[in-house]
């Protein structure tokens, strides 16, 4: 179903006039945006939101979301936008407090789709226990047909004593992932035009701040955390080895991957380690505390399939090496750009 209508009517689609700042803009806000997102910070509709003072150090992040298609099994661009920014804060160790939300909408975009996406944003914000404090809407002329682009920024609060830094990683530390890999990226690939794969795969987009708070509360010596979005687990681990100058050895058989994900990746010629995740976290933790963190994850709905997948070793040059099921080894590197489905 096309999201950009060939003919425009104010009842069904977004018009340029909706971005004009006049009556139609007010109507867009009151009928399609505010009903979902209303909260004490947003309601005054002032130019800026006044936040309560924070006791911890403020952490600030931003991200833009241009995913196509806009809606996919397990989520949509709105959910992705909230979870992406919340997770960027959470993996720093910060408690997310407020998000900003800027929508750039293409003229002709379906209002019904906008409603669905804004409702999804609200739902994700509730799950993350974070408020959309301020926002903006612009409407642009019909062009490439992207339909909708979202930019978010987020502010969080870093409690004292949290110091997650790859420089603290030492040999013997364990590497853990909080759940099954590659589900988001593979889902997007299967719904892209032309490939026509139907599957049980669903995006794993989810806010991880609740799970991460629980991990932090165990008192474990967590060295570093990151969410493996674009570039996948491979990207994150390569960053770590470059920063800390040590190597990481992974065990292929320990990687949590569902059968459908493994087979879909094989079908498309992709490596699960390089595919994006939107509801997972890579955690490097001191060896003595690894089991404790693992149990905590597995007790949480978003961490049921968590697994310890490898460890840090003092081997030069600093590389990520995968030990395969057959007993061999090969290096894991960052993907080189767009992962195209291979046929040959």
């Amino acid at each position: 179903m096309p999201l950009i209508a060939p003919t425009a009517s104010a009842k069904e689609c977004v018009l340029l006039a909706h971005g004009g700042g006049g009556q139609l803009t007010a109507r867009l806000l009151t009928e399609h945006i505010l009903p979902h997102l209303a909260n004490r910070l947003l309601d005054p509709l002032t130019d800026g939101a006044v936040l309560a003072p924070m006791s911890g150090r403020p952490v600030f992040t931003t991200d833009a979301f241009v995913v196509q298609p806009l809606e996919f099994p397990g989520g949509d661009i709105g959910r992705l936008a909230v979870c992406g920014t919340v997770n960027d804060l959470a993996v720093m160790g910060a408690v997310p407090r407020a998000l900003s939300l800027a929508l750039v909408i293409e003229e002709g975009f379906s209002l019904a789709a906008l409603d669905r996406i804004v409702a999804s944003i609200a739902q994700a914000a509730r799950e993350a226990n974070v408020l959309i404090a301020t926002g903006d809407t612009k409407v642009i002329e019909r062009r490439g047909g992207d339909g909708l682009i979202i930019t978010t920024a987020g502010i969080g609060e870093l409690p004292d004593g949290v110091n997650w830094d790859p420089a603290r990683v030492v040999a013997g530390d364990k590497v853990l992932v909080t759940g099954r890999l590659a589900e988001h990226g593979l889902t997007i690939m299967t719904v892209r035009e032309g490939i026509e794969i139907t599957s049980e795969l669903r995006s794993d987009a989810a806010p991880l701040n609740g799970l991460i708070t629980q991990m932090r509360a165990t008192g474990a010596d967590i060295k570093f955390m990151r969410d493996p979005t674009r570039g996948g687990v491979a990207g994150v681990l390569c960053d770590i080895v470059e920063h800390c100058g040590l190597s990481i050895h992974l065990r292929d058989q320990a990687l949590p991957v569902s059968a459908v994900a493994r087979h879909t990746a094989e079908l498309l010629g992709l490596d699960v380690l390089t595919v994006a995740n939107e509801g997972k976290c890579v955690v490097v933790v001191a060896a003595d505390d690894a089991q404790r963190v693992l149990s905590t994850c597995r007790a949480h709905p978003l961490g049921r399939h968590a697994a310890i997948v490898g460890e840090v070793v003092d081997v030069a040059p600093p590389l990520v090496e995968l030990h395969t099921a057959v007993g061999g080894a090969r290096i894991v590197q960052r993907p080189y750009g767009e992962e195209l489905p291979r046929i040959c």
Partner: protein, 360 residues
Amino acid sequence: MNPDVCHSLLCEIRDLASRLPRVQLMEVCGTHTVALFRTGVKSLLPENIVLLSGPGCPVCVTAQGYIDAACALADQPGVIICTYGDMVRVPGRGGSLEQQRARGARVRVVYSAREAVHLAATAPDAEIVFLAVGFETTAPATAAALLEAENLGLRNFSVLTAHKLVVPAIEALLSSGDVPIDGFLCPGHVGVIIGSDAFEPIVVHHRKPCVVAGFEPAGMLHGIAALLKQIARGIARVQNVYPVAVGSQGNRVAQAILQRVFEPAPARWRAMGELPASGLRLRRCFDRFDAWRRFDLAEGDDYDPPGCRCGEVIQGKTQPAECVLFGRACTPLNPIGPCMVSSEGTCAAWYKYHRLAVGV
């Protein structure tokens, strides 16, 4: 995958290797090159068993002139190029198809030739050209898609052919005598189409053992063990260790479709020159689907970019690490030749998976 079976096959390989001098085996399939690395099998082989990569990456063996012709076509107004992902980053004289796309050319990555046909059916105002690259595993798909286009009466669909045949290339390599090869690990999925008997000429004319193997670790180990056994016994025959998918006669239906649409023709291979009856061209009755004729294109000259040794790499004459550009001027981000950029290129596989490479 049963690690016990793999372990016992490895023990067998080590035992055989201990009683053999240095052995050079050639694997003639880019998918084997990648699978051997990805599964870690390559890292487990004894030092005296050397695996050379042969002309098995369809993009790498395609002469540079084809890539230049494809890029020239991409610039023509109204043309949409449909191609498998592998071709998109290979550099031509004026850049790659990916770079051209960034400059406004219409280039679309497809998973199947059928997608190109469906695009042509739904976009009658555009000229759809499908880049038909690949060996015997892939050529039947092009043939079938072309027949579908004919059935639909499409007037805006054509194919720029560069399909190649594996056995003639292997024979040419052996005839040149440049590289000592003791046996061939033969591509299982090409075998699915052509049948294991099709590898007989290699045994009959050159007395080299050929084992047709699949792509799982156990299958590849089984293939290598079988080759070493033959070498140890001084025999040479075609052996099929992938019988679940490969028969002696191959897929007769696919072969018939191939013969209906294509005929064998001389083809230009990177650095190997023109080899007789080593490629496929469209039969004359399909002229209107032949992009070479439709757009009056000629395949440009073959050349390796300065310093590039892709031509030697695909013949097994040079290992990637022996090329002075490897990992330095030539990396996957900045590829000079196709062996580095193609997902099945030997240099790309070395760079991606091999320990030594990253030290560069």
